[in-house]
């Protein structure tokens, strides 16, 4: 019997625990590791306890590592492909989404296809032996944990985001504040240079608007939704709408990952920093303190706009009155001349 257990092949009929024990002989040792040619040390330790607390508790090693058929492994095991089970209509009962189809279109998938060894696949974000349901706090893609997960590769962005108004809110459990996936998407992440990206220059204001134009979302935090409407009415907004690639969008002024409220002295839209924000190279070079004197987001149709509102309103009524007056004049004049003509009269 013992001889049978130590044979080279791992028959599928054996109970799962016994099968896994074979793997755990080596992979259960804490210091089991491989030293790569580059000098990098890769741990090959698997925490069985953690696995049994994860969503894959009922799985055995070879369910995912299906290319491992003998010990020692004839070839280094290939990277696991999650789509082995996670596809629509799979018989395993694995959660089915079209997430991997979205992922296939993403910049991450493109990089993987190019052979970039650092590009992420499913397990890079979701984890390997420690996968939890995304809604559970222990998950690597739990809302509050997403930024750290993305940040494990995108270090600089994470560092900026952490101290931003959005980052601090998410960490404090705010369900409305955005994390990486809120703006960049979850699986169909595209590079900002890609015209279809949610963060392409043409789409930035639409992405920000999903929250900042919704009274139900930002109204709770005392943020005025007029900011989106005023941008869309401004020259920048109109130019963007009609295809300009050079004018400012939300992120041009508010930045991307280190967004801070205007009161914050480090904010790009703090009164003291506005000249340097507007005066960015390629924009309004030569911007000075005058740029900050006056409301930035202005809606001429609201009295809060001050004198601008009065000028706009003055012209509105002037034009209306003159239009009506002149129309009346034409009508009266026409009428008078028609009468004179009927009388066969002279003028």
């Amino acid at each position: 019997m013992l001889a049978g257990l130590t044979c080279l092949l791992v028959p599928a009929q054996l109970p799962a625990q016994l099968q896994m024990q074979k793997c755990m002989i080596c992979h259960g040792k804490r210091d089991f590791r491989k030293i790569l040619d580059s000098g990098e040390v890769r741990s090959l330790y698997v925490d069985l306890n953690m696995l049994q607390k994860s969503v894959h508790a009922k799985r055995i090693c070879v369910d995912c590592h299906s290319d491992v058929v003998e010990i020692p492994h004839a070839e280094p095991p290939r990277r696991v492909s999650c789509t082995r089970c996670h596809y629509k209509g799979n018989p395993e009962g694995a959660p089915q989404t079209d997430a991997y189809l979205d992922y296939a279109q993403s910049v991450h998938a493109v990089e993987v296809a190019k052979g970039n060894p650092r590009a992420p696949v499913c397990q890079s974000c979701h984890g390997t032996h420690d996968i939890q349901h995304p809604k559970k706090p222990g998950s690597r893609v739990f809302r509050a944990a997403v930024a750290a997960t993305c940040g494990s590769c995108h270090l600089e962005e994470f560092a900026q985001y952490r101290s931003s108004v959005h980052g601090t809110a998410v960490v404090h459990g705010n369900p409305d504040a955005p994390t990486c996936t809120s703006c960049h998407g979850e699986h169909r992440v595209l590079a900002p240079a890609d015209p279809s990206s949610t963060v392409a220059p043409a789409h930035v204001s639409a992405t920000c608007s999903t929250c900042h134009a919704a009274v139900g979302i930002v109204g709770k935090y005392g943020i005025d939704v007029e900011q989106v409407a005023t941008y869309q009415e401004s020259f920048h907004g109109v130019a963007t709408k009609f295809g300009s690639r050079t004018v400012a969008n939300c992120s041009s002024c508010h930045m991307t990952h280190d967004i801070r409220p205007p009161e914050d002295p480090l904010s790009s839209v703090n009164v003291r920093n506005i000249p340097s924000t507007c005066g960015h190279k390629g924009c309004h070079e030569g911007a000075n303190a005058n740029y900050a004197k006056g409301k930035i987001h202005v809606d001429p149709e609201r009295p809060e706009a001050g004198i601008i509102y009065y000028v706009a309103t003055f012209f509105k009524y002037l034009t209306l009155i003159v239009m009506i007056g002149l129309a009346l004049h034409i009508a009266l004049d026409f009428n008078r001349k028609l009468q004179a003509l009927r009388k066969g009269g002279h003028e």
Partner: protein, 235 residues
């Protein structure tokens, strides 16, 4: 405006608009047309028509170029006109006839009372009646304002550096709103009174030929008609 053109086979014509002015008017019409087409798409950007015209104009950047070129055209006309009315004899003589006077107020009052059916005599107008004077000075003022605000907007970065930011906001609103107002005024005033009103002095081709029927002058601008008649009688 004394030069005459007799026409044996038809009603007698008189030169009402010299060539220089016709040329200025032509350039002005073209400028205004392109300024409106390229400008209102910004002011009324919500409308689907705006998107259509911007596509027609070749995109947003092209729209801006068209607007600026047309604006330069308008500025050229203004400067040309200024030189004409100040430094040429003909132009200056006409400019002096355009100076507003109390007679114009009286004429206007009389016309209003007439229009409302009162039995008053029609005002007797000189070469330029109250309508013409009002229109000339209103358009002059509006045009100067449009050019001034336009230049400040064109060099927006510099304007914002010179003045507090809210000043350019005012200028921007002013520019678009005044354009709308001027457009309404031109259409409902100028086009009606000069080109469409029944019994007006101009003919359909006057903006090109410069001539109007002498008979119309007699009816509508009797003071000028008298002057022309006296000039004719003198050898």
């Amino acid at each position: 405006m004394a030069a005459e053109k007799g026409n044996a086979s038809g009603p007698e014509m008189v030169l009402w608009m010299p060539l220089a002015l016709r040329l200025q008017h032509g350039v002005l019409v073209l400028s205004v047309l392109f300024l409106c087409l390229s400008g209102f798409v910004l002011h009324f950007h919500q409308s689907a028509v705006a998107a259509f015209f911007i596509r027609l104009e070749g995109g947003f950047a092209a729209r801006g170029i068209i607007h600026r070129i047309a604006g330069i055209g308008m500025a050229v006309v203004v400067m040309w006109h200024f030189v004409y009315v100040v430094f040429t004899e003909e132009g200056h003589r006409q400019l002096m006839k355009l100076v507003p006077a109390t007679k114009d107020l009286r004429d206007f009052a009389a016309q209003v009372r007439m229009n409302f059916g009162q039995d008053v005599a029609a005002p007797e107008l000189d070469r330029f009646g109250f309508r013409e004077k009002f229109q000339y000075w209103a358009v002059a003022f509006l045009t100067i304002m449009m050019i001034a605000t336009g230049i400040l907007l064109w060099f927006g970065s510099e304007t914002m550096a010179l003045f507090p930011k809210f000043v350019i906001d005012i200028i921007r609103i002013f520019h678009g709103s005044e354009a709308t107002f001027a457009f309404v005024a031109i259409f409902l005033w100028h086009i009606y009174n000069v080109h469409a009103s029944p019994g007006r002095v101009t003919l359909p081709g006057t903006a090109l030929t410069g001539v109007v029927p002498l008979e119309a002058v007699r009816k509508l601008h009797p003071v000028e008609f008298e002057r022309l008649r006296k000039e004719r009688e003198q050898p």
